[in-house]
Symmetry: C2
């Protein structure tokens, strides 16, 4: 009856899916489960901990473990570099810089990133192509207060995202998805029609509390972001 934590996890999950353990019901405690599966308590613990991480069960000291009444559904999305995203589709990646300027940070961005009054930012507009078809439009601001060295990079050969990933090893971000309308400028860039609905990602990034960058990525019409869970 010896089992691995994977087998235990799968078995418990199947007991839940098959209705053997009803939503909301109390499950046996770890010692009992270790007994049932003929393994150490730590092994059961790992299986249960992963199920809790996956949002399937709910654990509380003293109160025990229960099957979640309505399992928390979580979808995980990889946020790849555009280059990789395109290359993984088997297409050839091409990048181009459309505009580059140093500006006073506009008010809406200052507020969004919590920047000082009069802070300067590098404003970049870029395009990413898949097999020469427009794929993604990138409108990016980089805080020069945080990253003064960005002013020296020209971003002609490769995009700011790749530069940032190489420069800042790790950061926190807030990301949001929405649907926006193609205005004349975007439609022109993306080779789409005015008024096309565009799947849009916005991302604001911080490094140790200091704002690094804000970017708005508009995908060509018809783009989907898909995952399984």
């Amino acid at each position: 009856m010896k089992s691995t934590y994977r087998e235990i996890k799968a078995d418990i999950l199947s007991k839940i899916t098959k209705g053997h353990w009803q939503p909301g019901s109390l499950m046996p405690n770890e010692i009992e489960l270790a007994d049932i599966y003929g393994c150490a308590r730590a092994t059961v613990n790992r299986a249960m901990r992963e199920l809790a991480d996956d949002g399937i069960i709910e654990r509380r000291r003293k109160a025990g473990t229960r099957v979640r009444a309505s399992p928390i559904r979580q979808a995980r999305f990889d946020i790849p570099l555009v280059r990789r995203e395109i290359e993984e589709k088997g297409a050839e990646y091409r990048y181009s810089l459309a505009a580059r300027s140093v500006e006073q940070t506009p008010d809406w961005l200052r507020e969004r990133l919590n920047l000082d009054d009069g802070a300067r930012a590098l404003h970049l507009v870029c395009m990413h192509y898949a097999d020469d078809d427009p794929y993604q439009h990138e409108d990016r601001w980089i805080s020069l207060a945080t990253l003064p060295q960005a002013e020296k990079a020209d971003f002609i050969q490769s995009g700011p995202n790749e530069w940032l990933v190489a420069t800042i090893p790790f950061s926190n971000a807030e990301i949001s998805f929405s649907a926006t309308l193609a205005d004349a400028r975007l439609a022109d860039f993306l080779g789409s029609r005015l008024g096309d609905p565009l799947f849009t990602i916005e991302r604001a990034t911080w490094f140790e509390e200091r704002a690094i960058t804000y970017v708005r990525l508009a995908y060509r019409p018809g783009h989907r972001m898909t995952t399984r869970y």
Copy 2:
């Protein structure tokens, strides 16, 4: 120098973010780290395993552990029930059923869900309101081959999602996000204008290889889905 796995994880992460351990570089192995932190190897292992799960580092037997050159950025989104989504915004939730019919499964859906020829499905159109403002339009198909009992539910008091969550304790799903255009029918439902861009979620769900449901959720204009990582 005794440390918890959380402290170790945080310390390693800060070593990476501060550039102490460069992207791509080889990190000390678990035994060395256990020595450094004055703890058991299992404790280091847990810290490192979580960092690997988070996409920060990359581990391979014999080859050792390296800092990822470009960290895999993953965003986790909760997929809540609409009811909870609305109530958490502090608004009052209201639901209404707009249409209900039993139909032959259309071809595109048969293909999408891998259903048999001539399979019947329950087709539902519903609206979800927040404080009486249109919030989300739901267009759902439920396979009657898999869930014949759905035909008996009337879905007048509460939506199919809540019924499904209570009926099927756990399932696999494929979910995708996109931007679509409001046609006349959708614009009418959502009280928006024709041609508004709508953030749209599609979800197909299976239970033990058998298709359960396909749903298309269109949000009112301006909706955003946000998360941090």
